[in-house]
């Protein structure tokens, strides 16, 4: 296969005079090693050479790439596969790794850098694993996050190596292990330094061949002994299955398939487990949910290139953050590893609160081993806590995160402009205030843009960057590059009421209010949307966001879009007047029991709230109707945003809705959802709702046109 092109093979065999054959992984034209069917072909050829050469007594698998073992499989290859092709692909991988495992000559994996997915499975098939004790060395089977399963023996070999109890969470969540933890688990057998790891692995391989070294299996824990018995195993797997169902509400097939494979292997042996794995992989990769999750991952990678056509970004050596509240503090937390961060607020007390939380966050990361003490101290040294606007001088980027009030934000901008260099970027972290209005009266409106973060900032992956007609390309480029540095997936949208995410969220939450007015039950409504795949129901979400914030947005956007039939319930405003702000003041739709030992108890509906929605008597609505009313309004509004040019692409719209608002990821986002069920179907459902519920369900022109012409938003 590899002879068809001029490319060098992805694996080359180095024959050392001491009798060790080093199989060097070196995927051509790629900075990291990626598994693909081409890779398998080259691997098989290299193994042939290794096995046939009598001068070679032992082998080592090593990466020729700097700081990376094998980064995983070629996901682009997965996108086009149907179930049969998927099964065929991984069956080939199985055959190959079975050869490695069955080799008479011992083969040792020398792992430095990431060994992810198929990369780790290659290492698992070896007879011995040496890993470098380096922060870059991380091992994981993250397939579940992509809606598939480890298809190269991972579901069989990992439990065999580290025990069922440790393997289950690793495969079901895809968590990463550092070298030390991997050694402790028995996932690797020896740790060494990154330089010279291949020599150490070669020595281990020779000693294994000579019989002077034997792999020492991990000492069984009490849980292992339990798992070794039939009933014990059933109990552990049963618990895991219950846990998965509780967390995923049965919406994600991958973790359940994984459990099937593990169970098959445990009960009926490796062969049976391997077969289940090959079939399971095919089923998942051929399914729309698995495909959607893979495409989501590819889109997240793709969107990183958004700044390519822009002028080069300005280097940010000093970031200013105005407002040390929860948002400001969160923005500081994701920036302080990069450069000096000036956190400015009015009072030492609010600075102190932010400093305390930032310190606690760093301490936690140091304790968990994800940060060294020195790195922690370095990051802390980057922080400047200030009450003085003068300290902003020299900032190349300033992000304000003060209270959502137009006048205040304008004032903050004017104060900052007095000390900022004319080419410093000024970003407003607002969820709905139009950036153009904030920039009115600015000395340099060209450097003003929006950077809309989601709360809590360190956890939420999305950053929505908002540009006005006046925003300069260099300013956008700088904000975009900085957002990527903060580890965010950035989408760029045009200024307008609610931008993109808030704009599509508003009718969604607004419809929930209307449903409550019509007599819907709070818990039933939240449950319906969670069963559809949202991580949080609309009412619980409003509590989290703040009812006051929600009411504010509903009023502003309601006014902006009144002419096309937006309907806003007055109840939210009345709730705010009565002192209901949501979770932040412990007065919301739900009652939140106080935290016990850091865990919050189960929340319950606050019955008083129904007083604002026509009294305690509740009606039952079909779940599908509730879901359609909320989700289709969101989808329709998203399409409108594309139609109006607020969104640059359907891809950005999908990313924004999934990563920012929790739109069910396995649907692929609002646009992929339309592609999946068909625009005609969406239009038909909306037309029906329009007749029963009103004009707000009028499908937008773009949707109608796509339905008429049978078009799709995404080609693939």
């Amino acid at each position: 296969m590899s002879n068809l092109t001029e490319q060098p093979p992805a694996i080359r065999l180095e024959k050392r005079p001491d009798g060790v054959g080093i199989l060097w992984f070196d995927t051509p034209e790629s900075p990291v090693n990626i598994l693909s069917s081409r890779f398998f072909g080259d691997f098989a050829a290299a193994l042939d050479g290794f096995e046939a050469d009598p001068s070679l007594r032992a082998g080592v698998l090593a990466s020729a790439k700097p700081d990376s073992f094998i980064a995983g499989a070629d996901l682009k290859q997965f996108v086009g596969l149907d179930a049969a092709q998927g099964t065929a692909l991984v069956t080939e991988g199985h055959r190959l790794l079975d050869r490695v495992a069955a080799s008479r000559k011992p083969i040792v994996a020398a792992i430095h850098g990431v060994a992810l997915g198929g990369g780790l499975e290659v290492a698992l098939a070896c007879h011995y694993r040496v890993a470098s004790e380096d922060p870059k060395t991380q091992l994981a089977l993250p397939e579940v996050q992509l809606g598939v399963l480890p298809g190269a023996g991972g579901t069989q070999r990992l439990p065999a190596l580290i025990g069922l109890a440790a393997a289950l969470p690793a495969i079901l969540t895809g968590s990463r292990f550092k070298a030390r933890k991997a050694l402790k688990l028995g996932l690797v057998d020896h740790l060494t330094s990154p330089r010279g790891i291949v020599d150490v692995a070669a020595r281990a391989a020779l000693q294994l061949a000579e019989g002077t070294l034997r792999r020492k299996p991990r000492k069984p824990t009490p849980l292992d002994r339990l798992a070794a018995t039939g009933p014990g195993r059933s109990f552990i797997l049963g618990q895991a299955r219950k846990d998965v169902l509780r967390k995923t509400r049965g919406l994600y097939p991958a973790p359940l398939r994984i459990l099937d494979c593990i169970e098959a292997g445990q009960a009926r042996g490796f062969r049976a487990g391997a077969t289940a794995e090959q079939q399971g992989f095919g089923a998942l990769v051929g399914d729309s949910k698995g495909k959607a999750l893979i495409k989501l991952f590819l889109a997240m990678t793709d969107v990183k290139k958004a700044g390519e056509h822009l002028p080069p970004p300005r280097r940010v050596s000093r970031l200013g953050i105005l407002g040390a509240g929860f948002m400001g503090e969160g923005i500081a937390a994701v920036s302080m590893s990069q450069n000096t961060v000036v956190l400015k607020d009015l009072t030492p007390a609010s600075l102190g609160k932010a400093a305390k939380n930032l310190d606690a966050g760093l301490a936690k990361r140091e304790k968990s081993g994800s940060l060294t003490r020195l790195e922690r101290d370095r990051q802390w040294s980057n922080l400047v806590f200030s009450t003085d606007t003068q300290d902003l001088a020299g900032c190349e980027l300033v992000i304000e995160a003060v209270f959502e009030k137009l006048e205040l934000k304008r004032q903050i901008l004017a104060d900052a402009e007095a000390v900022l260099h004319p080419q410093a970027v000024f970003a407003s972290n607002t969820s709905a205030l139009p950036i153009g209005r904030i920039a009115e009266g600015a000395k340099h409106p060209e450097r003003v843009l929006g950077m809309h973060y989601f709360s809590p900032v360190p956890k939420m992956p999305l950053l929505e960057i908002i540009v006005t007609d006046q925003t300069a390309d260099w300013a956008l480029s700088t904000a975009l590059a900085y957002g990527v540095k903060q580890g965010k997936t950035c989408i760029v949208v045009k200024d307008g009421p609610g931008f993109y995410t808030t704009r599509i969220l508003a009718p969604f939450v607004g419809e929930a209010m209307l449903l409550l007015e019509e007599g819907a039950d709070i818990e039933a409504l939240d449950k319906a949307l969670k069963d559809f795949g949202f991580p949080v129901g609309p009412i619980a979400l409003l509590d989290e966001v703040g009812i006051d914030v929600g009411a504010h947005i509903a009023r502003d956007l309601g006014a902006a879009f009144a002419e096309r039939g937006w309907k806003t319930s007055p109840a939210a405003a009345k709730l705010v007047d009565a002192g209901y702000c949501g979770r932040k003041n412990a007065k919301g739709f739900y009652i939140y029991p106080p935290e016990k030992k850091g865990k919050s108890g189960k929340k319950q509906v606050n019955p008083e709230v129904y007083g604002f929605f026509g009294g305690p008597a509740r009606k039952s609505f079909p779940a599908a109707e509730m879901v359609d009313r909320l989700a289709l309004l969101m989808v329709n509004e998203a399409v409108r945003c594309l139609e109006e040019g607020i969104l640059g692409s359907a891809r950005d719209g999908d990313l924004g809705a999934i990563l920012g608002l929790g739109f069910p990821p396995f649907t692929g986002g609002p646009f992929r959802y339309v592609d999946l069920v068909g625009a005609a179907d969406v239009v038909a459902r909306m037309e029906r709702l329009k007749t029963t519920c009103g004009d707000r369900f009028t499908p937008c022109a773009m949707l109608v046109e796509m339905a008429r012409e049978g078009k799709r938003f995404h080609e693939d």
Binding site: S317, V342, P348, G352, A355, K356, D359, R378, S381, N382
Partner: protein, 433 residues
Amino acid sequence: MSAVRYRGRRAVLVAGARTPFMRSGTAFMDWRSYDLARGAVAGLLTRTRLDPASVDRMILGTVISEPRTSNLAREVGLACGLPQACPAFTVSAACTSSNVAIMSAIEAITSGSADIVIAGGAETLSDVPIRYSRPVRKRLIAAQKARDPADLLRLAAGLKARDLIPDAPAIAEFSTGLTMGDNAERLAKALGITREAQDRLAVASHVNAARAAERGDLARMIVPVPVAPSFEPVAADNGIRGDTSLEKLAKLSPVFDRKFGSVTAGNSSFLTDGASAVLITSEEAAQSLGLQPLAAFRSSAFVGLDPVEELLLGPALAVPAALRAAELALSDVDVFEIHEAFASPVLAIQKLMQDAAFCRDRLGADGALGEVPDERLNAWGGSLSIGHPFGATGARLVMMAAQRLAAGGGRHAVVSACAAGALGHALVLDAIA
């Protein structure tokens, strides 16, 4: 003794930053000198917007070395993002530690071996290394070689109960066995310095510091640092008592000679935690960094004296030596920053500069050198009021002298300090014309 007029390219002081100076056992109680120094150095970097990568040396002074960070400067450099390639070392010369660090920085620049240097120092007196007694240490070291429990038992033999009493660092001079306070008392008696004169100087120190704090002159040097548990940034020194008075100080009893002495807690500096750092560069480097220098270094003197009779007289020898090297007279000096370890050594230099016999016999001058006028001396407060974290005081003095010059205080400044071991250090600074 050595004194030198700096020639060749000029070294200039560009900026300074320090943590607030806090009475020991208060806000910085749980901080190591490493944490304090990080606060000052990181503050200096962020305040000047200096790219850490441009720094090519760091020198810090400290007196009581924490064994885990014995090269304090290197650890702080790594933690503050200075380049790995930037060498850093730590000096210890008692209360002149950071004066010596600054002198080394100047020498590195005038000699051409560095362009941009951070110098400073840090001290915590809230925590000092307290050791096991020698008999216990001896056995612990031997225990590392023990092969079985029987060996360990044998080691325990001969250990006495009193060996378990920990060994705190000595406060007395190693060479003479006298404490600093004893020496301050001896000095006052030898020169006939009255209790009232000492208290008057202490009051002046507090009042001057309080006024400077009120004007914002101190805040310009202070980097607010967030400290647990509240993490509210600490932004001001906490030893300054602007409301003190001669009457209040008169009520305190002498500490070192309870019957006939004059040195009290009120006219001695108190135990303090803090750190300070200054940025010293060549004139050209300052220009290319776009930073406006505050002062230029003209000369220095570093002297040693008799540890019994002259322990605290360092400035009386170092200042004339530095001025002679600088080709300046005492009357040319507009700004004096003289370390107030106690009131008595400061009053001593004022007295001795006007003492023809001392100037002739000890300094080889023709006669009395003249006055150190009160109004030019420590006009923004001194160690008696602001505090005295040993290793950090020298850089605080230099920073203050430069700020006073830059604020229009005159053309020449002298910075001087005495130190344990009978050392004296002096620097002469020129205003930037």
